[in-house]
Symmetry: C2
Subunit: 211 residues, 2 copies
Amino acid sequence: MKFYDYGMAPSPRKVRMVIVEKGLDIPTEMIDLAQGEQFSDAFRAVNPHCTVPALSLDEGQVLTESEAICRYLEEAHPEPPLFGRNALEKAQITERIRQLELDGYLAVAEALRNTAPYFKDRALPGTESYAQIPELGERGRQRTQAFFSKLNQQLENKQHEWIASDDFSMADILAYIIVDFAKRIKLSPAEDLNALHQWMASIDQRASAQA
Amino acid sequence: MKFYDYGMAPSPRKVRMVIVEKGLDIPTEMIDLAQGEQFSDAFRAVNPHCTVPALSLDEGQVLTESEAICRYLEEAHPEPPLFGRNALEKAQITERIRQLELDGYLAVAEALRNTAPYFKDRALPGTESYAQIPELGERGRQRTQAFFSKLNQQLENKQHEWIASDDFSMADILAYIIVDFAKRIKLSPAEDLNALHQWMASIDQRASAQA
């Protein structure tokens, strides 16, 4: 098994946090996205989509979507569970993941991809060229602010120890990474969003957050 | 258990197909989105996000994301499996689902939501108001066409009986629904995309496709 990683990007970081939470030791290779190394012939042979993370399995298959990789690691190494212990918990965590992706991750990604000069003509991930849409960038920024407020409110009213269950879960990892990812568009939660800051601080302490 | 459904929309249809594939019988209530019934007080009490599908569980919780609902039904009724039989199959199906959603479902949804007069100021699902972005609508149409070609190519080169495994899976259900959903933006696969048309025809025969 081999993990293709890149320090700065949110999706590989999600996988890194899962690896540390589960106490796994997986050989890792860095793909320097800032240098365009994802478009090299060597990496194209691993992942034709030219994206990280990627997980190359011993059987020869390569997984190239972070959620697929995280769920694979969960199946192969169930403890500690990050996707829930029973049907209801699993559904509730899946549901929070979907909402976090649509309302949070995509908001930040849209803002970044449609405004940063670095992503000119690469407004979507992958090998196809798409022009930036400034209006979409602006909408992404607004949605990111709305996401912070909503997340804070949900944390104030939460019925579990963590975001989606009494166990620390994939929903916490994803939300934590999104808030950090928003630094790339120079946005961070307002100081008075106390529940959000408290929850962030409790994750900052975990070894996986340093990975 | 109660399933909140609406005939025309793609996400509830996904759940309906899962219900039929698994041979389940779940009490169902129609929420007429065309009449704005999702914004009624009665439905808001079930799902404050004002979206269908929703699945109200006997324990009182309500699931409101189609993927969470489908995975819940899979956990509760594992046969026939729609998300894979082992860790590798599960990861490969999850991976295809993610790609289909990002490249297919979101492309059609962006085109529809950003061009149809019906969705004026509701360019994103839910209760918040977002203005349409015509450029995003146009990009969605282009991406939908690219999606058809890519799906056809993937079906030509597929290594399994179906899209992501030798079993008919959630990836087939999702892709089938996306191609149908594209009719809402008046796009359908070109006649010469043979592998795509053949695969569609084989799903048309299934009872779940009529649901």
